[in-house]
């Protein structure tokens, strides 16, 4: 089931680098908000244990695509998704898929840090608690501390786990959100411009973290920063006006884009 289904007709040419084990496979994905079409026939494979960057100008549909993966678009009443989007070969839009379980497997980090207005500990413990991942208090504590350590936040907050998560700085809040996301051991972490509200130092920390996390997780990141995409991602996909223009190995996209629009965008001609 892990074999990608190829649709050569829609690809302008065979992908430069074949992906042996794509984690996420999107085929002819269309998204409509009411009458407006936000995504048109998107075909994209996302590899396992790598960082895939979605780039493109504002309103091009990258966030929409990201939110299709864990079905966060369900919360928008007018949104409608067609096509096939499979994780490990199972269509996420299959009526038999439980959306809550799906979201437990596909964690998400949002553009603006949004910790719960609760203690740091409770922020991380919430996910494991509602999914019953810990059998007792000690286990829960273990999960929380491990997650904080993996998110690189533990040393900064170990003495104030009972303080409110909202009292942390922006960068710390965002790492807390990452810790919260990895606490439920998801397969995939979606990041929607996670550094747009952060200063360069905090951004550097998050980027470093992403590099570490990709050994265990499949990461999909939406970013407006070309440099960030170049730094953290192994593969990149360029969206424009709801169309997936080009995708491939990050180095190729940035050094030898096949499409004129991609080149214009990454060289700063528009966007």
């Amino acid at each position: 089931m892990n074999t990608a289904v190829r649709l050569p007709q829609t690809d302008p040419q065979p992908m430069s680098q074949s992906i042996a084990h794509p984690k996420v496979v999107a085929r002819d994905v269309n998204v409509f908000y009411g009458d407006k079409q936000a995504l048109k026939d998107v075909n994209l494979d996302i590899p396992e244990n790598a960082v895939t960057a979605l780039i493109g100008p504002s309103g091009c549909g990258k966030t929409t695509f990201l939110r299709c993966i864990n079905r966060m678009n369900d919360t928008i009443p007018t949104a409608r998704v067609t096509g096939r989007l499979a994780i490990d070969g199972r269509d996420v839009n299959d009526p038999e898929i439980d959306v809550v379980q799906l979201r437990a497997r596909v964690g998400m980090v949002f553009q603006k840090p949004n910790p719960f207005p609760k203690s740091i500990f409770e922020n991380v413990a919430y996910g494991p608690r509602i999914h019953g991942l810990a059998r007792n208090k000690a286990e829960l504590e273990e999960i929380v501390l491990t997650s904080l350590k993996r998110a690189g936040l533990y040393d900064e907050v170990k003495d104030r786990l009972s303080e409110s998560g909202t009292a942390l700085s922006g960068g710390q809040q965002q790492r807390l959100c990452i810790a919260r996301a990895i606490a439920v051991s998801p397969d995939i972490i979606l990041m929607d411009e996670p550094c747009s509200a952060l200063d360069p130092i905090a951004t550097a920390k998050i980027e470093e973290l992403m590099d570490e996390l990709r050994t265990n997780f499949t990461i999909v990141i939406v970013t407006h920063s070309m440099q960030q995409a170049a730094r953290v991602s192994q593969r990149a996909a360029f969206f424009h006006l709801g169309i997936l223009v080009e995708e491939g190995v990050t180095g190729d996209i940035f050094t030898a884009p096949k499409e004129r629009r991609t080149q214009d965008y990454i060289t700063g001609r528009f966007g």
Partner: protein
């Protein structure tokens, strides 16, 4: 592209006189608007302060009461003749006799029936009940003489609160010699001690004479007018007779006679008034003649030899009158040891007679009157006797009613708000429901009363006047408020919190109940408390379901008949007794205090739990 000015358009002109005038008028408009705002705020503050000050000034006296502290002999013969010490027998004793005896011991000279009834009346009928409670609680008091506080009647209480009359005293300058110690006596003074009071009365005679003469003059004027009309009628009559018109002759004849009769009556009344005025004038012009003192002029009394004499006839150096408090002796009183006492309010305009005032003043002078906090106001139910009426029944009724309201409308309101805000599909049906909830918040409250009457009382057959029904009606009344406030609070929670919860795999319901609702709770509580204080002050719908009854016993359960605070205020405001005016204002103060506390709590919750994201 450096030239930003668009060709053909005028540039902003800020140097010419016209431009400066424009700026000035803008400043003027701003100053004017600020002045309007200040005036509006000043006026509203003034009105609010006026209302509050008025209520506080009126209501404060009701929180205090005056009591007599008398030595009461708890005689076994009146309470427990058989000496059984049986609580039921002790309870059945005649305690009002004890109270009466204690009072009569102080005023042994009061032997006439009317006087005794008057004396008994200065103590409240509740005094005996208080004494009963004391003795039942401690039967060892039987047979002993105890100092017992006795509640005064409302008129006596009001007298001590300063609503009786202002009293002025003038020390006597001459030697006063009374002719006796009881009954009707005459007091002679060696100086013209009473002349100033006499002058006051004479002066009032002169004023009365002036008024009468003016009245007589106006009567005479009308009489002349009526006569003139009569003359007209007479002329017309003569003309009609000349014309031989029988019908007109008859009509004018009757007119003429009635005018004449009216003129005669007016003239007679004028003459009577003039005669009275002349009589008064004569009395005024004879300064030494004695004058009688009636009930329509300030009362004059003489305090002498430990007694009190009410003056009925007043001369320059002698008065005669009736003894109200017996004199200890008929010895001559030296100058300065006796005094003339004037009660400024005429007896006819007072609730307490001169005799009662004399008694009350005597009791006060002997330290038998004490002022204490009026606990009865908080511990007893409604009563027809103002001094025994309290708000406990209304408070209990309000509390029970609000409890029912809270238990019904908080879960219903919050559940409805959560469903509508978070779960309901957006369609025509939910839109209609939303519009109607908003409309219901503006429906007059009396309509909810009618609804309660029709559904809860007539259809479901629930008990009348009960907090259960009142609470249900008020719950319906405040439901829209709570739903609207709760929805606003839920909407104010940033969606990022809900997304975060959904992002870690919480279900919609978990996201709402674990994260959104706790954050919205301060808003929900604020809305609920505002709704509750709205319900606390509501009167009209409760009138419709019969909570307007006179209920003495505080309700013990939500199905007992009860009344609530605002209805109690409404009931008391309607009563004729002056003492109830203060009770009304005092009850309003209590209601306002509760409203302030509730709204203060709402503000506190809002401040305390307000979060910034």
């Amino acid at each position: 592209m450096t030239d930003l000015a668009i060709p053909g358009l005028r540039r902003l002109d800020f140097t010419t006189e016209k431009a400066r005038a424009r700026v000035r008028s803008r400043y003027r408009a701003e100053v004017r608007f600020k002045a309007y705002g200040l005036i509006a705020i000043g006026l509203t503050t003034l009105f609010i302060l006026l209302v509050l000050a008025d209520i506080i000034v009126r209501g404060t006296p009701a929180f205090f009461q005056y009591r007599l502290v008398l030595d009461v002999n708890v005689e076994q013969s009146e309470i427990d003749p058989q000496g059984t010490h049986d609580p039921a027998a002790i309870r059945a004793g005649d305690y009002s006799a004890l109270v009466r005896n204690a009072l009569r011991k102080i005023f042994p000279d009061v032997t006439d029936r009317a006087g005794r009834r008057l004396l008994d009346g200065i103590v409240s009928s509740g005094a005996a009940d208080q004494l009963r409670e004391m003795v039942v609680a401690d039967p060892s008091l039987i047979g002993r003489t105890i100092k017992a506080p006795l509640l005064l009647s409302d008129d006596a209480d009001l007298y001590f609160k300063g609503l009786g009359t202002s009293i002025s005293r003038t020390a006597g300058r001459g030697i006063a010699s009374p002719s006796g110690t009881t009954g009707d006596i005459t007091i002679l003074s060696s100086a013209n001690d009473f002349s100033s009071d006499l002058v006051t009365i004479k002066r009032s005679l002169a004023k009365r004479a002036r008024d009468l003469r003016a009245y007589a003059a106006s009567l005479r004027r009308s009489a002349r007018e009526v006569e003139a009309q009569g003359d007209d009628a007479q002329r017309l009559l003569a003309a009609a007779q000349a014309a031989g018109d029988a019908a007109r002759v008859q009509s004018y004849t009757s007119q003429f006679t009635s005018y004449r009769a009216e003129a005669a009556t007016l003239t007679r009344q004028a003459a009577e008034a003039e005669a009275e005025a002349a009589d008064l004038q004569k009395r005024f012009e004879n300064p030494s003649a004695e004058e009688a003192i009636g009930g329509n002029v300030p009362s004059v009394l003489v305090s002498i030899d430990g007694g009190m004499v009410k003056v009925t006839r007043l001369g320059n150096s002698q008065v005669s009158g009736r003894v109200l408090l017996p004199l200890t002796s008929s010895a001559d009183a030296a100058p300065g040891t006796w005094s003339i006492v004037t009660f400024a309010t005429p007896e006819d305009n007072r609730r307490v007679s001169d005799r009662e005032v004399a008694w009350l003043e005597y009791l006060r002078e002997h330290g038998l009157v004490e002022r204490s906090f009026n606990w009865i106001f908080f511990t007893s139910g409604d009563s027809r006797e103002p001094e025994l009426a309290g708000i406990r029944g209304a408070l209990v009724g309000s509390a029970l009613t609000l409890l029912v309201t809270l238990f019904v409308c908080l879960p219903l309101g919050v559940a409805a708000a959560i469903y509508l805000e978070e779960f309901a599909p957006r369609n025509r049906f939910t839109e209609i429901i939303e519009v109607n909830i908003n409309n219901l918040a503006a429906v007059p409250s009396i309509v909810f009363g009618l609804l309660g009457l029709a559904i809860f009382l007539n259809f479901l057959g629930l008990p009348r006047s009960a907090p259960l029904v009142g609470g249900l009606v008020l719950a319906l009344l405040v439901l829209p408020t709570i739903i609207i406030a709760s929805r606003a609070a839920l909407k104010a929670v940033p969606p990022s919190i809900k997304e975060a919860a959904l992002g870690v795999g919480a279900s919609h319901q978990q996201a709402v109940f674990h994260h959104v609702l706790p954050l919205a709770m301060p808003g929900v509580m604020t809305g609920t408390i505002i709704g509750m204080s709205h319900a606390l002050g509501e009167t009209a719908p409760l009138l419709m379901i019969g909570m307007v009854a006179f209920i003495v016993e505080p309700a013990a359960s939500i199905t007992d008949a009860a009344t609530v605070l605002p209805v109690q205020i409404y009931l008391w405001s309607d009563l004729p007794e002056i003492a109830f005016q203060a009770k009304t204002a005092a009850a309003i103060m209590v209601l306002l205090v509760f409203l302030f506390i509730m709204n203060g709590t709402a503000i506190f919750l809002r401040r305390r739990f307000e979060r910034r994201w």
